[in-house]
């Protein structure tokens, strides 16, 4: 295609956006909001899945021992548990080790924990892994009946809740996005219809001069895509920088949360949002062009 034709297309598209500025802004806004909701719920889902996966890989039973338990008793208990067929691993964590671990997970906020060394409130712990996650609950019940055991904890319920939540967020986010996306498509269709109306004389001339339907359509599709692109760029900027600053804050105050910080995972999501914006724009203009070109 000739450069002049292309520049003609772009000039027309931008002029139209400016001419219908109010409804253009409304379309851009709705595209932005719908993609914003989609983008944030996708991020939420990604994070919930990430946290769940981390928890699942570390589903283990923590058996907290009573304070008075002697090293011999601990050794006996450890051997007894290790002999069980469902158990794959038993690790003893002394109360000192537990404190060190906690300090590590707090990173540069570990000062909070200073002063705990003298009167360490953490118990001695046995960490037990099973062959399957299904064996965790019954085993944990059995451990609770042992004399030296104070408390038994395991994270399985949390994993299930997280996965359920992520499913729900995904469904709700998708439903909202689809509804708003449809609204965005129709707003863009209305915008394009206005600009078709504003240029109906020119279109009539183009048609009797022998312009193909695609030549007539193209500037309008471009206009729709410009609207979609503008909306999606707003959404991407808000989601991207909003998320970066949010995880920055969370990592400061909740350093042990396993968040998705990998930009290589976030960037395709942003690219997807922009692609969706373009598709919404093109669909909106195609809808408004279909009826009109037959006339």
């Amino acid at each position: 295609m000739r450069i002049k034709t292309i520049s003609y297309y772009f000039r027309e598209a931008f002029q139209s956006v400016v001419r219908n500025s109010w409804i253009s802004i409304a379309s851009i806004g709705v595209v932005a909001v719908s993609l914003l909701i989609l983008g944030s719920s996708m991020l939420l889902v990604m994070n919930a899945n990430n946290i769940a996966a981390n928890l699942e890989s570390s589903v283990e039973i923590s058996v907290f021992l009573k304070d008075q338990t002697t090293p011999d008793q601990i050794k006996d208990l450890e051997n007894k548990i290790r002999a069980m067929p469902e158990v794959t691993q038993v690790v003893f964590i002394s109360k000192q080790q537990a404190l060190e671990e906690m300090k590590e997970s707090f990173g540069d906020k570990k000062d909070i924990l200073s002063g705990l060394e003298e009167k360490n409130p953490l118990p001695d712990t046995l960490r037990i892994k099973t062959i399957t996650a299904g064996q965790v609950a019954p085993l944990a019940g059995e451990f609770e009946s042992f004399a030296q055991v104070d408390q038994v904890r395991y994270g399985q319920g949390v994993v299930e809740k997280l996965l359920a939540m992520s499913k729900w967020v995904r469904a709700a986010g998708l439903a909202t996005m689809i509804l708003l996306g449809i609204a965005a498509v129709f707003l863009i269709a209305t915008t394009i219809r206005l600009s078709v109306y504003a240029r109906r004389k020119e279109i009539g001339i183009m048609k009797f001069l022998g312009a193909t339907d695609w030549f007539v359509r193209f500037p309008f599709i471009l206009e729709g895509m410009v609207l979609g692109l503008a909306g999606s760029l707003i959404a991407v900027l808000v989601v991207y920088f909003g998320y970066l600053s949010l995880i920055g804050n969370i990592q400061l105050s909740l350093p042990f949360m396993q968040l998705v910080t990998d930009r290589d995972l976030i960037k395709p999501l942003m690219g997807g949002l922009i692609g969706l914006g373009l598709i919404i724009g093109a669909t909106g203009s195609l809808i408004s062009m279909r009826r009109f070109l037959r006339a």
Partner: protein, 228 residues
């Protein structure tokens, strides 16, 4: 070159604009379509460039069946036909040269071709000096000559002019007719719907008279008779 076979056109709503029209026009002819208002002249021309479809009958143009033509082939049909209307249909925000160039642009012609062709066509219609002027600053006769330039810039084999002098004074009309005569002399077929009886009488070309959607007269070197 053009063949209408038993063509009937009934508009939605039941308005019968043409009834059983059979007409043959050869390459290079100059044909006046005359008849009272509402006789079906405009409808007949619209059928030729597929603005309207006939309700019955067949139309052959340049060896192709216009009625059965697919939607995507219509633009290429129209590029073979130059159109001139009573109300000009120029784009007011484009200059004279840009309006003429637009006809080439929509066909995807190259920049070089546009630069070469547009000035030549403008000088043929006597508007070389007005290339950069906007249509709003031109007289009616000049605007209609821009339309003629736009109609011929694609080298069409047929020119359809629907009352091209309807908005012009007699003297300007004659200037324009000279231009059409010259275009026809170079081999382009011309079909002109008109009410200008003096022009028809003086040109001594073929006259097809329509009344109530029927051809009531078809004469070589005819005159605009029903004024008598």
């Amino acid at each position: 070159m053009i063949q209408l076979q038993n063509v009937t056109k009934v508009y939605p709503g039941g308005n019968k604009a043409l009834s059983d029209v059979t007409l043959r026009i050869n390459k290079g002819e100059f044909v006046f379509l005359v008849g009272p208002s509402g006789a079906g002249k405009s409808t007949l021309t619209k059928l030729l460039y597929r603005e309207e479809l006939p309700s019955r009958g067949q139309i052959i143009f340049n060896g192709k069946n216009v009625v059965r033509m697919r939607q995507k082939d219509i633009p290429y049909l129209r590029r073979k036909i130059g159109m001139v209307f009573q109300d000009f249909r120029l784009l007011s925000q484009k200059t004279v040269a840009e309006n003429v160039a637009f006809a080439l642009e929509v066909t995807g012609a190259s920049n070089r071709e546009i630069k070469k062709t547009v000035p030549a066509v403008l000088s043929m219609v006597g508007l070389a000096e007005k290339a950069g002027v906007f249509p709003g600053h031109l007289s009616g006769g000049e605007q209609q000559r821009v339309c003629v330039a736009r109609a011929i810039v694609n080298n069409p084999i047929l020119i359809i002019a629907d009352e091209p002098t309807g908005n012009l004074d007699p003297e300007t009309s004659w200037e324009l007719m000279k231009l059409f005569k010259e275009i026809n002399r170079r081999g382009t077929t011309i079909i002109m719907a008109t009410h200008a009886w003096d022009i028809v009488n003086a040109m001594k070309k073929r006259v097809v008279e329509l009344t109530g959607g029927k051809i009531v007269r078809d004469e070589e070197e005819g005159a605009y008779r029903y004024e008598d």
